[in-house]
């Protein structure tokens, strides 16, 4: 399938305790436990980089308040590309 995935997930390794609930819960199975240990000595979750739909299930299954951040692809602009004003309020956040 061409084009970017509809969503993506960022995992904060400072918060993740490696319980694996997000990996288990993810409908498209796009999360995994990292083979590397974090400095807490756990295998934190990470996004495989493919197929995230941005559904947010992993966020609600994760017991840590801020370990998971879910992003979703913004709806494409309806009209022709809007010129970005100089100074850029839509400057890339990522």
């Amino acid at each position: 399938m061409a084009g970017p995935a509809r969503g993506k997930v960022a995992v904060d390794v400072e918060e993740c305790k490696g319980c694996g609930l997000c990996v288990e819960s993810c409908p498209p199975k796009c999360l995994e436990l990292s083979p590397e240990l974090s400095h807490y000595g756990v295998h934190p979750a990470r996004y495989t980089g493919h197929d995230c739909t941005g559904c947010g299930i992993c966020f609600y299954c994760c017991p840590e308040p801020g370990a998971i951040t879910v992003f979703r692809l913004a709806a494409p602009p309806k009209a022709a590309p809007v010129p970005v004003p100089a100074g850029g309020e839509h400057a890339p956040a990522l």
Partner: protein, 498 residues
């Protein structure tokens, strides 16, 4: 120009927007030990974190952060105040609904949440939750049920399943010995007042999303002032159950839900009758009213011949012993003295023995207990025999019979005998014997004035016929003492018993 370049180079990434992230209801960092500021103290896979997130999200979406007070329990979630950036109170074990009641009544415009576990709510706090629910307190209770005591290491909880092992039910819970699991949602739904009771589970994606709706609904109902709301959340405890987080979550669905069925047990509008409303008075009005009474009843300009006078009054229950003490204390107060009144009586309201201690003092009273009373008013022989030896040297005993028992000698006190019951009976009612004794006390010791006595009696006795009887009884007591003194029948210092 440079920005245009960036956008052209990364057309995919700049179009993602955040849809789920840490709620701003949580502190950015937690007040925990140095390197743990980023994590909660809960075990990996613990249900508390999910429950916290659902509550935080609902409060954030309903814009209630600045008006929320969270009552933390005792249990694993004792530190909920580390995480929630709202008003926080942490209370004694099981008492969250009681504390929440007080908070909500004092601050009815606030959102008050009691967050409790099953040991806290269903064991030590059973009374508090049942009565808060029964009163229909307008609070939200989130009851996190993991069927075990987590914080203390896995003892059996009231909610432990039949057959479930714990450190205190090592062969599995046996109903014949430990009873059945308590179903709190069902129990509370038998009450009339609650408006919303639901049981949800953190067992799988679908149920977590149902839990999310239940939490939000409870808070919405509280915001709208609907009434008592209760959400029971079946929650995994991987560490104590000895399972990995994924197994533990499945266990909630496979074992807990069959025993604790998910359901909306109550969802209806309840109007609690507000009948017989007492007249509304502010605290200032009440205090001012009391002061007015005190000012008007104050007797000025009377000097007292004592610095401190301790009076012990003893007799049978029902003879007006305690009432006589109260009257004397009230009189002392009206004459500007410091006073105390301390009753002592058995569980029998009638015919047991009763006594009380009254202190009248120009200084502040250190203790209301009298070990050496200056005056003993003994309404009967038992009291006289029991307490006569306590009298302070040179003190006065007023005995409510015509003469002392022959075998009793009281060498160190002035003893006055007055057949109070007989006098009262002749006046019309033996019930006023205590007022006869008061008359005798006032005449004999002159500790307080009989004008003050009448003022107090007028304030206390509403029945005019009875008030007239009291006035006669007071006079009769005084006249009897006066009369017996006049004819020389009063006792000598060594008492009446020769």
């Amino acid at each position: 120009m440079a920005e245009q370049d960036v956008i052209l180079e990364e057309p995919k990434t700049d179009k993602y927007e955040v849809v789920h992230s840490k709620s701003h209801l949580f502190y950015p960092e937690y007040e925990r030990k140095s390197d743990l500021k980023h994590q909660t103290h809960y075990c990996p896979g613990c249900g508390h974190g999910v429950a916290h997130k659902l509550i935080a999200e609902a409060l954030q979406e309903l814009k209630l952060q600045d008006q929320t007070i969270l009552v933390s329990p005792v249990g694993c979630s004792v530190f909920a105040y580390y995480y929630f950036d709202v008003g926080n109170v942490q209370v004694a074990h099981g008492r969250a609904p009681a504390a929440a009641t007080g908070l909500k009544r004092a601050c009815p415009d606030k959102i008050v949440i009691a967050y409790q576990g099953d040991g806290d709510l269903a064991a030590i706090g059973t009374a508090e939750i049942v009565h808060a629910a029964n009163r229909g307190e307008k609070i939200s209770v989130f009851f996190v049920n993991n069927a075990i005591y987590g914080m203390t290491g896995g003892q059996m909880a009231p909610t432990t399943l039949v057959g479930q092992r714990s450190t205190t039910s090592p062969w599995g819970r046996r109903p014949v010995n430990e009873g059945f699991p308590l179903h709190m949602a069902e129990m509370l739904s038998s009450l009339e007042a609650p408006v919303y009771i639901e049981r949800v589970a953190l067992s799988d994606n679908k149920n977590i999303m149902k839990a999310r709706r239940a939490v939000r609904k409870a808070l919405e109902l509280q915001r709208d002032g609907a009434g008592f709301t209760f959400v029971e959340i079946l929650s995994p405890c991987p560490t104590i159950w000895g399972k990995d987080p994924i197994e533990a979550r499945k266990w909630v669905g496979e074992k807990m839900i069959p025993s604790f069925p998910l359901n909306v047990f109550r969802d209806k509008k309840i109007e609690i009758p507000n009948n017989n409303v007492p007249p509304h008075k502010t605290v200032e009005e009440i205090v001012e009213g009391e002061r007015k009474v005190a000012r008007e009843g104050m007797v000025h300009g009377r000097s007292h011949h004592f610095q401190h006078l301790g009076i012990k009054i003893a007799g049978f229950g029902g003879q007006g012993v305690l009432l006589l003490g109260q009257l004397l204390a009230e009189m002392g107060m009206r004459e500007g003295l410091e006073v105390s009144w301390l009753p002592s009586y058995g569980p029998e309201m009638r015919s047991g023995s009763a006594h009380c201690h009254v202190c009248l003092s120009k200084d502040r009273i250190g203790s209301p207990v009298l070990s050496r009373p200056d005056v003993l008013i003994a309404m009967n022989e038992i009291s006289l025999r029991k307490f006569a030896s306590q009298i302070a040297p040179g003190g006065t005993i007023i005995y409510g019979r015509e003469r002392l028992p022959d075998d009793l000698s009281i060498p160190n006190a002035q003893v006055v005998c007055i057949p109070a019951s007989e006098i009262a009976d002749k006046l019309g009612s033996a019930k006023v014997a205590n007022v006869v004794m008061m008359g005798a006390l006032l005449e004999e010791t002159e500790c307080l004035s009989s004008e003050t006595a009448m003022k107090v009696l007028e304030a206390k006795v509403k029945n005019l016929a009875l008030l007239e009887l009291d006035r006669k009884a007071l006079d009769a007591g005084r006249v009897y003492i006066d009369h017996t003194v006049a004819i020389g029948a009063v006792t000598q210092a060594d008492g009446f018993a020769q």
